[in-house]
C-alpha cells in the first residue's frame, strides 16, 4: 500500500484522517428461491474528507445507509466500489478478509445500545485490557491494568468500577465503558453510531460533554451518526444528509442548518419537534414513506414524496453538485449560487 496525495485542510493545514471517494456498498438479497438475487444499493457514492479534531455528522432516517457507511468506514465490510483512505493509507480489503491490524486500530466504533455491546461475562477491566492484549503484546499485565484504570478515570467512572460487570451499571455508565474500550488503542477516528439515542435526556448531556472533552484532549475525528438533529446541530462541523443510500446534501453544519436547500433536508428539519410551545409551526408535510430498496422508484429516489417534484425528476437520478463552494446538493430544483 502506498501513501496517497491527500486533500489539505485549509484551516489547519493538516492531512485528512479519513478520505472517502464515492464509497458504495451493495448487498445481494435473495428474494425467492431460484430467482437471481436482487441488488440492494445500501450506500451510493458517499464522498467526504474528515480532519483531526473535527466532527462529521451523518443524518437520515432508518434505512438511509447511515449504518452501512459506519460498517464500511470501520472496515467491517469492504466497499463494493470507491476509495477509502485512512490516515494516509489506501484501504484495500477483500470480501471476508480482516483488515490489517495496525489499520483497524485507527478506527473504533461505539454502538447505539450499550446493553448489547458489552459482554455480560466480563468485568470492565477485562474488557478494557482485551484490546491491549491483542495489539500491544509487549505490555505486562500490570501495565495493562494501569492503562485500563487511567481510562476508567478519564471517562468519569471510579476505580472501584473496574472489577464490576456490565449489568451493575446504568445506561449512561455503560456508554462510558464502551467509549473507554474504544479509546484503549489511541485511535484517530471514532465512529459513533447513534451513541446517545438510547439514553435519557439528563444522561445524554453528560455523555455529549464527555465526547467533546475527549475530542479536544486526543484530537479525535468523529463520524457521528444520528437522527437527532438538535444533537447534531450542537456538535457537528460538517453534515451529510442521506436519503435512500445517497447523500442528498453535504456542507458545513452552520450553513446546512441555517439554510437547508434540498427539499428532503427541509422536510426533515421541519418534522423535528422543537421544544418551544410558542414556535408550533406549519410543517413541510411529507407524503408516504421511504421507498423499498428492492423496488427503487425511477429517477430521484425522493421524488415520490417530494413537494417540489416535477416530470423532470423521474427522468434521472440527480447528481450531487456544488451549489456554492461549500455546499453540495443532489436536486435539480435547487439553484446554483455561483456569481
Amino acid at each position: 500500500m502506498k501513501s496517497q496525495e491527500l486533500p489539505k485542510d485549509t484551516a489547519t493545514g493538516g492531512d485528512a484522517v479519513i478520505s472517502a471517494v464515492n464509497l458504495t456498498r451493495h448487498y445481494h438479497v435473495k428474494t425467492r428461491p431460484f430467482s437471481p438475487p436482487a441488488v440492494v444499493k445500501a450506500l451510493n457514492e458517499a464522498s467526504f474528507d474528515l480532519y483531526p479534531g473535527q466532527t462529521l455528522a451523518v443524518v437520515g432516517e432508518s434505512g438511509c445507509g447511515k449504518s452501512t457507511l459506519a460498517r464500511v468506514l470501520t472496515m467491517i465490510e469492504p466497499p463494493t466500489s470507491g476509495q477509502l483512505t485512512i490516515n494516509g493509507r489506501r484501504v484495500e480489503l477483500k470480501e471476508g478478509q480482516p483488515p490489517p491490524r495496525d489499520l483497524r486500530r485507527e478506527v473504533q466504533i461505539i454502538f447505539q445500545n450499550p446493553y448489547g455491546s458489552l459482554n455480560p461475562r466480563k468485568t470492565v477491566a477485562t474488557m478494557l485490557e482485551e484490546p491491549l492484549k491483542l495489539n500491544r503484546p509487549e505490555l505486562s499485565a500490570d501495565q495493562r491494568r494501569e492503562r485500563a484504570l487511567e481510562m476508567i478515570d478519564r471517562v468519569g467512572l471510579r476505580p472501584e468500577h473496574a472489577d464490576r460487570y456490565p449489568h451493575m451499571f446504568s445506561g449512561g455508565q455503560r456508554q462510558r465503558i464502551a467509549i473507554a474500550r474504544a479509546l484503549m488503542l489511541n485511535p484517530k477516528i471514532l465512529v459513533l453510531d447513534e451513541p446517545v439515542s438510547a439514553l435519557d435526556l439528563s444522561i445524554q448531556a453528560q455523555v455529549l460533554n464527555l465526547l467533546s472533552d475527549l475530542q479536544d484532549e486526543f484530537g479525535l475525528a468523529y463520524v457521528f451518526i444520528s437522527h437527532d438533529l438538535s444533537v447534531v446541530q450542537r456538535i457537528a462541523d460538517d453534515v451529510i444528509v442521506m436519503y435512500f443510500g445517497q447523500p442528498v446534501e453535504t456542507g458545513p453544519a452552520s450553513e446546512v442548518f441555517t439554510q437547508p436547500r434540498h427539499p428532503y433536508t427541509q422536510a426533515l428539519f421541519s418534522a423535528t419537534p422543537v421544544a418551544d410551545p410558542n414556535r408550533r409551526k406549519e410543517r413541510v408535510k411529507l407524503k408516504g414513506e421511504p421507498p423499498s430498496p428492492l423496488d427503487p422508484p425511477p429517477g430521484c429516489p425522493f421524488a415520490p414524496r417530494c413537494f417540489m417534484a416535477t416530470e423532470e425528476c423521474i427522468q434521472g437520478d440527480p447528481p450531487l453538485e456544488s451549489v456554492n463552494p461549500r455546499v453540495k446538493v443532489a436536486c435539480i430544483h435547487v439553484p446554483k449560487e455561483f456569481d
Binding site: E61, A205, Q206, A275
Partner: protein, 318 residues
C-alpha cells in the same frame, strides 16, 4: 365533571426484596377535548400509572387510590367483565412498539375486527365496512388490499397507524398514547402526531400522551405533568412550563436540551442518575441531583403548597 379523575394513585410492585413504589400519590385529571402530556425519564412511572388506569398491570402490582373515576364511575368497583367493556371501548391505549403489539399470526383486518366484535357487534359485513373506513381514516393507502396484510408486511409507521385504527375503532372518549412515536423516524413521527391530534379534534376525545421527548410535548400538549422517580413533581399549562418551570428538575431537564443550550461551550447536565429501588434518598427524591438542595430537602419529604396551582413537589419552588 372531568372525564377521568384519579387522585392519590399508588402503585407498588412486589419484588423479592420487598415492595417497590413505582408510582406514588399521582393525580390525573383530564376532560374531553384536552391533550395532557405526561413527561419523564425511563423509570419515572409514567407508563405504569396509565397501565393501572387501564387495569393492565400484572398480579405483582398493588394498586391503591383515593379516587379512580372514569365518567363519574369508580373503576375499582366494577367487575372485571364490566371493566373490560370500558377498556378498549370507552378508553383505549396505543403502545410504543407497534411491531410487537400486533399479533403476527393474524391479518390486520382480523385484529381490528376483533375489537369491533367485542365492543360493538354488528354483522360481519358491517364490521368489514367499518374496518375499511377506519384504515382509510388513519391514512393507510389502498385499505382494500391492506386489510388482508399481516403485520410483518407493514412498515413501522403503517403498523402504528393500524394500532391507532384499532384504538379508535369504538370511538373512545379517552385515548392514551404511550410513546406512540418513539420507535419511528422523524418524518413519520410528524405524520403520526398530526394524525392523533386531528382524530382527537374530530372526535372531541381526551388524549393522554406519554413521552420523554420535550419537543413532542411542546408541539402537541395543552397541559403537562412532569414525573420523576414515580412522583409528579409539577403540573402546568405547556407554555408556562417551558417559560417558567417551577421544579428544579424540570428546569434542569429543559436546560439539558441541546437546542436550548445556546452557544455555551458545554451542555448543562444533571449529575448522577435516577434513584433505583435500593438507593432511594430520604427527603426529596431529587435532592442528590438538585443544585438548590439544602439539609431541609435531605430530611423532609416535600408536599405541594396548598395555594400552588402547579402543585410543585419542592420545598423551594422556583
Amino acid at each position: 365533571m372531568a372525564l377521568l379523575e384519579i387522585a392519590g394513585l399508588d402503585v407498588r410492585f412486589r419484588t423479592t426484596s420487598g415492595l417497590f413504589p413505582a408510582v406514588e400519590n399521582a393525580d390525573i385529571t383530564i376532560d374531553k377535548g384536552e391533550v395532557l402530556a405526561i413527561v419523564g425519564e425511563s423509570g419515572s412511572g409514567k407508563s405504569v400509572s396509565m397501565l393501572a388506569t387501564m387495569g393492565l398491570l400484572p398480579w405483582t402490582a398493588q394498586v391503591s387510590a383515593e379516587k379512580m373515576l372514569f365518567d363519574g364511575q369508580e373503576l375499582r368497583e366494577l367487575s372485571s367483565r364490566q371493566r373490560r367493556q370500558i377498556v378498549g371501548g370507552e378508553m383505549s391505549m396505543i403502545f410504543q412498539e407497534p411491531m410487537s403489539s400486533l399479533n403476527p399470526c393474524f391479518t390486520v383486518g382480523t385484529q381490528i375486527d376483533e375489537m369491533l366484535k367485542q365492543h360493538r357487534g354488528g354483522t360481519r359485513k358491517e364490521r368489514k365496512e367499518r374496518t375499511l373506513d377506519l384504515l382509510a381514516q388513519v391514512g393507510i393507502p389502498d385499505p382494500r388490499k391492506r386489510i388482508d396484510a399481516y403485520p410483518h408486511q407493514l412498515s413501522g409507521g403503517m403498523s402504528q397507524r393500524v394500532m391507532i385504527a384499532m384504538a379508535i375503532s369504538c370511538n373512545p372518549r379517552l385515548l392514551i398514547a404511550d410513546e406512540p412515536t418513539t420507535a419511528l423516524d422523524v418524518t413519520i413521527q410528524a405524520q403520526i402526531l398530526d394524525l392523533l391530534l386531528q382524530l382527537q379534534q374530530e372526535h372531541d376525545m381526551a388524549l393522554i400522551l406519554i413521552t420523554h421527548d420535550m419537543g413532542v410535548v411542546a408541539e402537541t400538549a395543552q397541559q403537562v405533568i412532569v414525573q420523576y422517580a414515580g412522583r409528579q413533581v409539577e403540573r402546568q399549562e405547556v407554555k408556562a412550563l417551558f417559560a417558567h418551570p417551577r421544579h428544579p428538575y424540570t428546569e434542569a431537564l429543559l436546560s439539558a436540551l441541546p437546542e436550548r443550550a445556546g452557544d455555551q461551550d458545554r451542555l448543562p447536565t444533571i449529575p448522577g442518575v435516577v434513584p433505583g429501588q435500593h438507593n432511594r434518598p430520604s427527603g426529596c427524591l431529587f435532592n442528590p441531583r438538585c443544585r438548590y438542595a439544602t439539609d431541609h430537602c435531605r430530611e423532609v419529604e416535600p408536599r405541594p403548597a396548598s395555594g400552588d396551582p402547579a402543585r410543585t413537589l419542592c420545598h423551594y419552588p422556583l
